[in-house]
């Protein structure tokens, strides 16, 4: 039935640096450096970061770029809205870590999916002070961010302002309040209760 090489060759969809979002909006891909310049233009000194270049491929090498940037939590929501104007951004996940006095969140977005080889990862870091770890929700722009925001609340003990559903996702209800698995400053007594090394217990 199917004789041609399905899924291989020139794309039957829009290919030349252009794609369309669900609402019919035209999306024109730009280079990583150009996107970074645009972010700088709009957010000025409030963002700092860099563009990293990587190479893929064996016989036909291709370069791709990633943007890594840091922004204040006050401007973070504006940045997401700004990206949403270009194309509804793909949010892979938000990761995070305990960085001593602060909690650092990293939102891994990408733009220009749907265009061959032009997708750019935009990794956005936001630092929250431990005594006031509050950040605005982005579920109003990206509804799919809900689960990752809920996960950051239970794992890192941050507060997401205006989150539509603040319940826990992955941790059990038995986990004591105030214990956050990804933090380094947990009460050692509670940690001893919660964390068990089953291999050492002979299980």
């Amino acid at each position: 039935m199917v004789k041609r090489r399905v899924g291989m060759g020139p794309s039957p969809y829009k290919d030349d640096d252009v794609t369309y979002a669900y609402n019919g909006k035209k999306v024109i891909a730009v280079d990583g450096d150009e996107l970074w310049r645009k972010i700088k233009e709009n957010f000025g000194d409030e963002v700092e970061g860099e563009v990293k270049t990587f190479t893929a491929g064996v016989k036909r090498k291709k370069e791709y770029k990633e943007i890594w940037l840091k922004i204040s939590r006050e401007r973070f929501h504006d940045l997401v809205k700004w990206m949403n104007e270009i194309q509804p951004p793909h949010l892979a996940v938000a990761s995070g870590r305990d960085a001593g006095e602060e909690i650092e969140l990293i939102y891994h977005f990408s733009l220009f999916y749907g265009i061959r080889g032009r997708e750019i990862s935009v990794n956005v870091k936001v630092s929250l002070p431990k005594n006031d770890p509050v950040i605005d929700t982005i579920t109003d722009v990206i509804p799919g961010a809900l689960i990752t925001e809920r996960e950051k609340q239970e794992m890192l003990g941050i507060k997401v302002r205006n989150i539509p559903d603040p319940r826990r996702v992955f941790t059990s209800d038995e986990l004591p309040e105030g214990y956050y698995p990804w933090r380094n400053d947990n009460d050692p007594e509670v940690e001893k209760e919660v964390v068990r090394d089953l291999s050492k217990e002979g299980l």
Binding site: M1, V2, R5, V6, G7, M8, G9, P10, S11, P12, Y13, T19, A21, Y22, N23, F54, A56, G57, V58, K59, R60, K61, Y64, E66, P88, H90, L91, A92, V93, S95, G96, R97, I106, H108, S110, F112, Y113, G114, I115, R116, G117, R118, E119, S121, N123, I142, P143, G144, L146, I147, T148, R168, V169, F170, T171, S172, P181, W182, V195, D197
Partner: protein, 414 residues
């Protein structure tokens, strides 16, 4: 309003629901009007284990055991993230072998899913037939890697085993076999009237919902979103190939609806796409000699990783969609941060619009249609808003309702 609500546990072990999660459905008679999810029944804190107890090499094997079906996807993304963090470049031959294993895995995963989907709608002969043809690719994987699942092929900076002449011959023979059976696969899944009637207009995920809920993989492509990491941001040997994402309208010649049928079409034709990719990768492998790791001595690799400072992301298009790993190294025995994002994590939210308005008889196939990969079984909670009567419904009963519906459609077709 409800006079009485009741909760019913359904499951817990079921082949379509490889892991444990809970659905709370509010139903009005047969129709689902509200859906809530309760997740995390199998959360084992692997990220905690790795960042507290494992060195980066040991973590590969933890990553491999996150999922039994897509057991190369997590190591693939993980080693990429580590290589970016520590600035390591794997040799070219390793990049090709990595892609070959990933494509072999996609074939077996999609065919496995097709069998599960057939079972959910009551075609058990089809289930056994699809799982029979799946054996071929598992044999190839066993010859090349030594295992049917959990291949342990990937390592930081390369792969652990080479593919020799015999292996390439076997991959080519397998590709030929899948070309031959592919017409039959299309006939029974895509062209069959009963399957089409049973799955058309069920579990609809519109393109808007798919993009806003950041769905990935065949779930997104079934709704017409051209999203595929191998196409959007080619990595490894995929950059040498011209791949484009499979969207359903190319084959159905109908408007994309984003229903279960569209997702079946996407997965079935991705099997053929993987066959083409494998043939191209075999050509590439034959003309690319060289080492398979950048450093054979693991002690040297570990020492380098222990001294490294950096962070990196790894992305791979697994059978179920994009797998995403983030790793951070900071002069420590263990990685400082390791974040794992499996495709189903992003596809959870898609269930809610899919199930709204569906009949209870359709729920098993709707759940199965995103090919969930959470970790081993399931529960479903049904809350009836109208009746005050309480009844317990098991998943078996629900599945039987699904089978009855298929039989009725079949009668109508005949």
């Amino acid at each position: 309003m409800a006079e009485k609500t009741f909760t019913v546990p359904i499951g817990p072990i079921h082949p379509a629901l490889k892991e444990i999660e809970s659905f709370i459905l509010t139903v009005d008679g047969e129709r689902v009007i509200k859906v809530d999810l309760d997740l995390g029944y199998s959360h084992r804190g692997l990220e905690y284990v790795v960042t507290h107890r494992c060195n980066p090499i040991q973590a590969i094997y933890i990553a491999e055991r996150i999922c039994g079906i897509c057991s190369t996807s997590h190591p693939y993304a993980y080693v990429q993230s580590m290589e970016h963090a520590a600035d390591i470049t794997p040799p070219e031959r390793a990049e090709i072998i990595r892609a070959i294993i990933a494509e072999l895995e996609r074939i077996h995963s999609h065919i496995l899913w097709a069998g599960v989907a057939a079972h959910e709608i009551g075609f058990d002969t089809l289930l056994h037939w699809t799982w029979m043809i799946r054996e071929n690719v598992l044999d190839v994987l066993e010859t090349i890697t030594g295992n049917r699942v959990s291949y342990a092929m990937y390592t930081i900076g390369g792969v652990r085993r080479d593919i020799d002449e015999k292996g390439i011959r076997q991959i080519r023979a397998s590709a030929k076999y899948y070309r031959e059976v592919f017409d039959k696969l299309v006939e029974v899944f895509v062209e069959d009237t009963t399957v089409k009637m049973r799955t058309r207009d069920i579990g609809i995920l519109t393109r808007e919902e798919a993009e806003r809920q950041v769905a990935v993989g065949p779930t997104a492509r079934g709704s017409g979103v051209p999203k595929d990491v191998r196409y959007d941001k080619p990595y490894s040997a995929y950059a040498d190939l011209e791949i484009y994402p499979i969207l359903p309208d190319e084959f159905t010649h109908e408007e994309t609806k984003g229903d279960v049928y569209d997702r079946i079409v996407v997965r079935i034709f991705e099997v053929l796409q993987s066959v083409h990719i494998l043939e191209d990768l075999c050509d590439l492998l034959e003309t690319t000699p060289g080492p398979i790791t950048y450093q054979q001595n693991l002690v040297v690799v570990l020492n380098q990783l222990k001294r490294a400072v950096g962070e990196g992301i790894g992305r791979h298009e697994a059978p179920r969609g994009e797998v995403f790993h983030y790793s951070m190294l900071n002069k420590r025995e263990q990685p400082v941060v390791w974040k794992v994002r499996a495709p189903t994590y992003n596809n959870y939210a898609s269930w809610i619009p899919m199930m709204k308005g569906a009949q209870i008889a359709d729920i098993p196939i709707v759940i199965a249609s995103i090919d969930p990969c959470l970790s081993c079984a399931d529960r479903m909670t049904v809350v009836d808003e109208r009746t005050g009567e309480s009844k317990v419904m098991t998943l078996q009963q629900m599945r039987e309702m699904g089978w009855r519906k298929t039989k009725e459609i079949r009668r109508r077709v005949k």
